[in-house]
Symmetry: C2
Subunit: 653 residues, 2 copies
């Protein structure tokens, strides 16, 4: 029997202490908390949420479904995409059943599926805002409606729920939605030659295709990607027909077409422009469709956008989106640390994109970025208590600035209870509960192990890969490969770009193996194999390209994949008075009592004293006295879990 | 006869080459150009003006007056304060007659006075927006109406025009306006217990009082200052009565009360908050009224605001306003160089405030700041050609950022033809044409000569002070005092704070004189006196207080009062790659062929090379090679007069 040409991953059990804590936190705190919020039963405050726009504390997301299902009366409340909060939560719950079966929760989710089925129109349509309050405007203002975005999120949830529980109704709702969309969109006579203002349906249809094998779904996804931007006036034409001033979301009409990635066809777009979440959702769909269809132009666009984001527009933490205006990318190398956006959802979406690129190509860079998001930019979106969230993830924060400078009012210095636009909390929850799906990429006869998150993975025919470590605090990575039936397959293990020297031992013998595109490869034929990596876990003082003005003359601290931050709690404010040289001495220790256990870095530097208040602002320059001090840094993802205060990642040098 | 107790300034002739050029430029270019613009006869583009809000190229300001006068039909066009463009222009023209009599122009201005008189209502009211399009809303929405602001600007112009030409009608319009306002405002039964959303009327009434001596005008100004903020809900009450959503200027309703300096009474306000122009116009009114009434609480507030602005919220160029959102102050020591506002009008208003404080107290700091504005922050608002203007004056600019980052789209990197909200060009024009009034402060028997702008000043009884110099390029200041009737008076000469050592010679003999609050004093009794100052004109490398995060680790260059800037035209971009040490070597030379003649500074520094494009953004830090280079700097006021490019005042150090 030849499994070498096709090996299949059956199950992954995450055993990492670090991730198990988060995954159980989602089960214990995040899912119950978010369910309460969506049912308007939580005691929350969103008054300080800058995205709130004066809405009150209710989510009303479940109530909207009940009204659409005819089980309640009333009006729709919230954003037109309010339904997606429920769907992302449902998807997160579905994943959680894989590692934490939960009959009580499953009763709730099964009922929720029933409710959603009842809310769905006979023709498969489901978007409660339009069903309840604007049925005559269905698909009439796609620039702002988020209808395909909303249904896309259900399709993702439905597929995941079906895969987790076998609930056929969950999948049927999804296929009926997709069929409805297929009936309405396309270049054929009588169909809408358009697409949604917010990409998402493309990746959702790809997942549905992956599950059902129905060609029409991947064709429809492909259509959306090819059609996007072909007629840059499509949205405006719809808006005019729907009544120019009749906005669904005020002000969106005035955003540039690039905000929606609709200024030109994808294959002509050279840079990753516009709303960052839209971009990475679009890229994820592009990567799916490129893989399933072999569309080379689409793949080239994936490469182009990947490079533009990762090499020119990404913060060292993996966060993306340099401006709050449009929650958007700005221009190459523009990475301000204090006025930036860095939306949690954008880092979650970047993880999706990276995962899909790994499915196409075995390149370590994709896994490096995935790891960067998992341990930094995405993870920082949630407090250690699982009940507070960041929408915006700055690299430099100051409570005085957030309060006193309106250009920084979008930057919170402590995580909020909830948001009027609550896209981020459940998005992060679904990433964490599905992290087991992000550890391996299997292509043909090759298993790629690209994340150092302890786990036990089972493949076809009793092949097992067991990874044990205390990553990200320790770089000692232990693998045991069990292959009782002695099948022949390749095992690729990623050598992270941050590990300057990596020791590799096979069955205890140190070996020198070539690194190809960020991976070493072993041809496995034996019954068992023990592999040990020693990754370079020295503290690295990092610098940015000199093309980045905002980081010029500054350094950041990284150890393994973890980016570090200074906080006022540990270092007397103001933090800008500190200087650290590129050759500064550092020490590292693990503190199990701090922030649920974190590696702490101390770094030698100097501090200039704070000038007196009220004296002349500008004086002839003198060499200022710099007192030697030691700064303490904690992992970026764990900042803002103690008292409110200044934080910065990039330190003056 | 005893003139010693009261000496009066009769005339000042500005002989400074530097200022004569600007003053003639206003006569030759600025006034004719602005007159054309206001009559919709100029070929201009305001499409790139970020304040434009989609308005077209027409000013319509004169047409509005014609419609109000019944000489034309049509609707009002432009901002509700569009009239003020005309009034500020008229004021500038009036001042210009003092040094450049111009019969042709005076024919125009006399006719303009006639037109304004015809536009004025019988009861003295004049605000064309309300007269033409909303007569039922007069004084009903003062938060946004700018009615008193608008009439205040006429009053200033009317007084100036009367003083320059003796045109009684011009003054009568002003007194009828003031009487109208007096009839409508106050705490008496039946009057409006309020004030304007934009301070200006307070300083205008003070000028009218100064000219007419009528107590009711200064009383009314005093009332406005005392009443301001007493009922923080005043504006909202009016808005509700006028129809909450019935905004005159969209969005203004949502600005905080501090934007209007209306959150609390002035005497309780601790910091200079809100819209920067409003603050300095208010402060100017406060200083006038404090002087005329002896109100000590008001004077204390003047001191408090002065200190907060100058010591905590002012850029080294004199610019103020740290954020574009509300064109406002933010919080103490928050002075970002790239997202700032620094409106030209705010620097003009700061000059007014400084002048009024000098009228109260002989303190050099006021004259230092006045000089800073004249040679830097205010002057940079106009191009050397007199036909292009800045509304926003940044200390760091980059065309790529202005185009690519919407948080910086308000920052232009070249001066615009005109603005939809055209407050700045004429405001600067009236400052330049009246600069002769900013050189001396006369109190009792003391003449303060506090600006080093060559001039010939005539006082009572044939006393003359003639100042000759090539300032700001040379620090050799030559005075000849002529006192043929040998009156006894005191002459105070300012020793600028930037002059570390100043040599003073009286009739050729070097003397050591005590400096009191920034002035040296001479008791003059002789028939003639020659005074020579040698100011310290060495190039100074400056630093900011360590409380200013944005300038930490940076230096700026100053020579005399002139702040210097680096431009891409002279120094290969990007400018952030350069470093200059606090002890860097500098050279200075005057280049008569450059930018109409400027002093040029060269400074030794280093430059790091620009990284390759598209390589990994973040790498372990290394000491970067710094190549020795020489930077060339030009005066800040003269930037953006050559090609479009990067500019920065604060250099990395």
């Amino acid at each position: 029997m030849d499994i070498a040409n096709k090996i299949r991953l059956k199950n992954v059990e995450v055993t990492s202490d670090f991730w198990k804590r988060y995954r159980e936190l989602v089960v214990k705190e995040v899912l119950p908390y978010q369910w309460k919020v969506m049912n308007d039963e939580a005691d929350i405050s969103i008054s300080e949420d800058p995205q709130n726009n004066g809405r009150d504390q209710n989510s009303h997301a479940v109530a909207n479904l009940k009204i659409a299902a005819g089980k309640m009366s009333g009006h729709h409340y919230g954003f037109p995409f309010q339904d997606t909060d429920v769907y992302k939560w449902l998807e997160a719950a579905a994943y959680s059943f894989g590692y934490h079966p939960n009959a009580d929760l499953q009763k709730i989710t099964n009922s929720l599926i029933d409710l959603i089925a009842e809310a769905q129109d006979d023709d498969g349509y489901l978007s409660t805002y339009f069903q309840i309050d604007a049925p005559e405007r269905k698909f009439k203002r796609l620039q702002q409606s988020h209808e395909l975005y909303t249904m896309g999120h259900y399709i993702e949830a439905g597929v995941a729920y079906y895969q987790a529980t076998g609930n056929q109704k969950a999948l049927d709702i999804a296929t009926r939605m997709a069929d409805c969309i297929d009936d309405h969109f396309g270049l054929e006579e009588g169909k809408i030659p358009g697409y949604d203002g917010h990409p998402e349906i493309e990746l959702a249809l790809s997942r549905l295709y992956e599950e059902t094998g129905k060609q029409k779904y991947i064709d429809l996804a492909h259509y959306f990607l090819k059609q996007r931007g072909q007629d840059p006036d499509f949205f405006d034409k719809q808006n005019r027909a729907d009544g120019w001033d009749n906005d669904i979301l005020e002000g969106m009409r005035n955003l540039p077409k690039s905000y929606y990635q609709a200024a030109e066809p994808i294959i002509d777009q050279q840079t990753a422009d516009g709303h960052a979440v839209r971009v990475v959702y679009l890229c994820t769909g592009m990567a799916y469709v490129a893989r399933f269809t072999g569309d080379k132009d689409l793949l080239a666009a994936c490469h182009r956008f990947w490079k533009d984001i990762v090499r020119r527009r990404m913060y060292i933490t993996g966060n993306i989106g340099s401006t709050t205006i449009g929650e958007a990318f700005t221009y190459d190398y523009d990475l301000p640390n204090d006025t930036m956006y860095g939306e949690t959802c954008a880092s979650v979406g970047m993880s999706f994109f990276a995962r899909q690129m790994l499915n196409i190509e075995a390149k370590g860079e994709y896994a490096d970025i995935l790891e960067k998001e998992l341990f930094n930019g995405a993870l920082s979106g949630m407090a250690l208590d699982g009940k507070h969230f960041f929408y915006v993830n700055p690299l430099e924060a100051d409570p005085a600035a957030s309060k006193g400078n309106p250009g920084k009012s979008h930057v919170l210095t402590h995580r909020a209870d909830w948001f009027g636009c609550a896209c981020c909390p459940a998005n992060l929850a679904r990433l964490i509960t599905s992290v087991d799906q992000y550890l391996y990429t299997v292509n043909g006869d090759t298993i790629l192990s690209h994340q150092f998150i302890s786990n036990k993975a089972e493949f076809d025919d009793h092949v097992e890969v067991v990874q044990t470590n205390h990553f990200p605090w320790s770089g000692d990575i232990h693998y045991e490969v069990r292959n009782p039936e002695q099948h022949a397959f390749k095992l690729g293990i990623r050598i992270p770009s941050w590990s300057a020297k990596t020791e590799i031992a096979i069955n205890g013998a140190i070996q020198s193996l070539p690194v190809k595109d960020g991976f070493i490869y072993l041809n496995v034929t034996e019954k068992s194999l023990v592999i040990d990596l020693k990754l370079d876990m020295s503290v690295k003082i990092m610098q940015a390209s000199t093309r980045v003005e905002s980081d010029f003359g500054k350094v950041a601290v990284q150890r393994g994949p973890v980016i570090y931050a200074t906080e006022e709690t540990d270092n007397q404010a103001p933090l800008w008075l500190y200087k650290v040289s590129p050759e500064a001495k550092t020490t590292y220790h693990y503190d199990k009592t701090l922030l649920n256990g974190v590696g702490v870095v101390q770094i030698a530097g100097t501090r200039t004293s704070l000038a007196e208040d009220g004296v002349p602002l500008y004086t002839p320059a003198t060499k200022r006295v710099q007192d030697p001090i030691t700064m303490q840094l904690i992992p970026y993802y764990a900042w803002a879990n103690r008292s409110d205060g200044q934080m910065r990642v990039w330190l003056n040098s």
